[in-house]
């Protein structure tokens, strides 16, 4: 089964290049998961201050500055994984360096 891991947490106050991309251990985790054949893809995201949200209503494109929901916690990165079952996905998610500081949401992909 495929799962999306969403790295969620409070964004750092600092702007610019500071963010979850700098989280130590991410590269090592990705390399290890790729070696195991679990990791299909993933990336760290720039801060939500860089986000633009688009909606189309009555054929009109509405553009808003900012993320889809203005919440304290934001998505800072994602990984697409392929696992045997939820137990393996939980093991993979809990070994992600972000799990020790933020939260990792595991979402199954429609197959």
């Amino acid at each position: 089964m495929r799962y999306m891991l969403l790295i969620c947490g409070e964004e750092p106050e600092t702007s610019g290049s500071e963010g979850s991309a700098d989280l130590p251990g991410c590269d090592g985790w990705a390399a290890e998961m790729a070696r195991r054949g679990v990791l299909l893809g993933g990336a760290g995201l720039q801060p939500s201050g860089t986000a633009t949200t688009v909606r189309v209503r009555d054929d009109e494109v509405l553009i808003v500055d900012g993320p889809f929901a203005e919440t304290k916690d934001q998505i800072g990165g994602f990984a697409l994984i392929e696992c045997a079952d939820l137990d393996e996905a939980i093991e993979v998610a809990s070994s992600h360096p972000a799990a020790g500081r933020w939260s990792v949401e595991i979402r199954p992909i429609w197959e």
Binding site: M1, Y3, C83, A84, D85, L86, D87, A89, I90, I106, P108
Partner: protein, 418 residues
Amino acid sequence: MTVGNVQAVLTQAFREEWGRVVATLIRVTGDWDLAEECTQDAFALALERWPADGVPNRPGAWLTTTARNRAVDRLRRQAVGAAKLRELAMTLRPDDPGNDETAVGGIPDDRLRLMFTCCHPALSMEAKVALTLRTLAGLSTAEIARAFLVPEATMSRRLVRAKQKIRQAGIPYRVPPAHLLPARVRAVLGVLYLLFNEGYSASAGADLVRRNLCGEALHLARVLVRLMPDEPEAEGLLALILLHDARRETRVDAVGDLVTLEHQDRTGWDRSKIDEGLSVLDRALRRGRPGPYQLQAAVAACHAEARTAADTDWWQIAALYGRLAELVPSPVVELNRGVAVGMAAGPAAGLELVTALEESGALTGYYLLPATRADLLRRLGRRAEAAQAYRRALEEVATDPERRYLLRRLRETTDPAT
């Protein structure tokens, strides 16, 4: 055999076999709804056939085979792919369900996987409890809804969502591997313990289904012990349930008022449950791997073994709570230790522990904290302070029998005649 006898056999078979048949059908079909429906069909067919044909030698095997055949029929009608049907047929024997001598041998008990899957940590506690009662105990959705005081539609949605999550999130149908086992066993025990407590705390006037949750928890704990014979905490939970359940009838009086342990009529305790509980606990403790359920059962055993309230070995109970607090630090355990110390060493020593707990603020809003303080103060003869503490407990108490108990105590401390 009369229809009445067949009914009795069926009732017995339902308790023993429902979960087993459902568990096997889920393994074979991978479809929880289909498994439940086919199991239901098999019991309906038994009700129709058994009075005329006689009860088969092995009712469980008959029911499993019948349910499996029904599953194949249904899938065939739904034109399920040939590959899936072949796979199903591989696990099926062609025996006549009436001739079941050989069928049972090949059917493993799948209830353990079902228990672990129902109690998977990715499910909410509400979902775990509902799934366990539906699939393992065979309660109807309406009964589960009544037991948990929610509308049937709510419970039905809860079950649908839980099964959807198992399927869509890929929760595996298996006994977890060794490295996950300790935490998962705790999860299963936690669900059974909650079931028991729900039933145990139900008032005398509560719905019978709700009170029967104790019986369901007891049954499932027995099944778990049989399926995990080397797990001392499963035995600990079974012993705990037995020792508490033995006192159930004496906990409330004729008008529904709470009777504290001290005042319970000990001749009304169920001796056979106590004996069984003590022997199960003894077996568990001899394994030398104590855990929270074994320790709580050991406390219950101290009470069960005391001929009168005055004979209770409170030093032993205080020591057991001390040990429990080391394993699972919790303010509620500390409060219980305070009560035990208050009985063993006198109310002043107990009050010291309870005061420390109050100052920590860990149990703010929990009525048993001021209630315990009040009892200790009353025993010390500090009546005005006791009355004040009873009033505080009354502000936080939830159930009627407990409220009436506190009111009675409050009257005693404020009545100059006593």
